[in-house]
């Protein structure tokens, strides 16, 4: 009955970049939500006492802890960058399709650079 053409060639359909930016914003937000207890625990340990602080600093030398903190920091940095773009869009910037696409590219590049710098900084 429905004669509309169907394109299910999975190799040719893909999300446009702004859609990817948007879904990553959502995913990074959920990651940060689940990271809240970890961050609160670290904050509590770091402020509890001098020995608590230096024990945490010592823990940060392990590769696992560094990866966890880098992961959380990456989600946070991405979320902030995509959030700033979102606020700028709310304020009326990037009105055209071309500007939307360009701002997606720029915010993705900024986020990747910040995540890499964070990685270098942690190690």
């Amino acid at each position: 009955m429905n004669k509309r053409p169907i394109n299910l060639a999975l190799t040719t359909i893909h999300f446009p970049l702004p859609a990817i930016i948007s879904i990553l914003h959502r995913i990074s937000g959920v990651i940060i939500f689940f990271a809240i207890p970890i961050l609160l625990w670290m904050l509590q340990a770091s402020l509890s006492s001098a020995s608590g602080f230096y024990t945490l600093q010592h823990c940060m030398e392990s590769v696992t802890m560094r990866f966890i903190v880098w992961g959380i920091l990456s989600a946070l940095l991405y979320h902030v960058v995509a959030g700033v773009r979102h606020l700028l869009m709310d304020a009326g910037f990037f009105g055209s399709l071309a500007a939307i696409r360009l701002s997606s590219k720029i915010s993705l590049i900024i986020a990747i650079i910040m995540i890499l710098i964070a990685g270098v900084w942690i190690w």
Partner: protein
């Protein structure tokens, strides 16, 4: 609407505004904390404790904690209502969300004060 009973403000527009106010506060807080960590490396316990317990930092931390609760309530509520369709699943997830946020808020208060 029943569907919105567990949302923060029960108003889409108010949620939208709250989400942006809390976003700006959280963004500034992240910036200040990262700025401190970058300029104070390696960090000592005394430096960290002194910085965190200045009056202005305590107020800023409380503002950020409140914003974190507001921001994640609205954000996670939206994600739950988008992806969890069966009513009992959705309602349970939202009740868990609110209980979790209450826990984070109380825990955060204890740390900051």
């Amino acid at each position: 609407m029943v569907a919105a009973a567990l949302s923060l403000t029960r108003s889409g527009l108010r949620d939208w505004i709250f989400q942006r106010i809390s976003a700006v506060i959280l963004g500034l807080y992240v910036l200040v904390l990262l700025g401190f960590f970058i300029t104070h490396s390696p960090l000592t316990y005394d430096q960290w404790k002194a910085f965190f317990h200045t009056a202005s930092m305590e107020i800023f931390s409380l503002m950020a904690l409140l914003s974190l609760i507001v921001h994640s309530w609205i954000g996670v509520w939206t994600v739950i209502t988008d992806y969890l369709k069966p009513l009992y699943l959705r309602a349970s997830a939202q009740v868990l969300l609110i209980a979790g946020l209450a826990l984070f808020f109380a825990w955060g208060l204890r740390i900051i004060l």
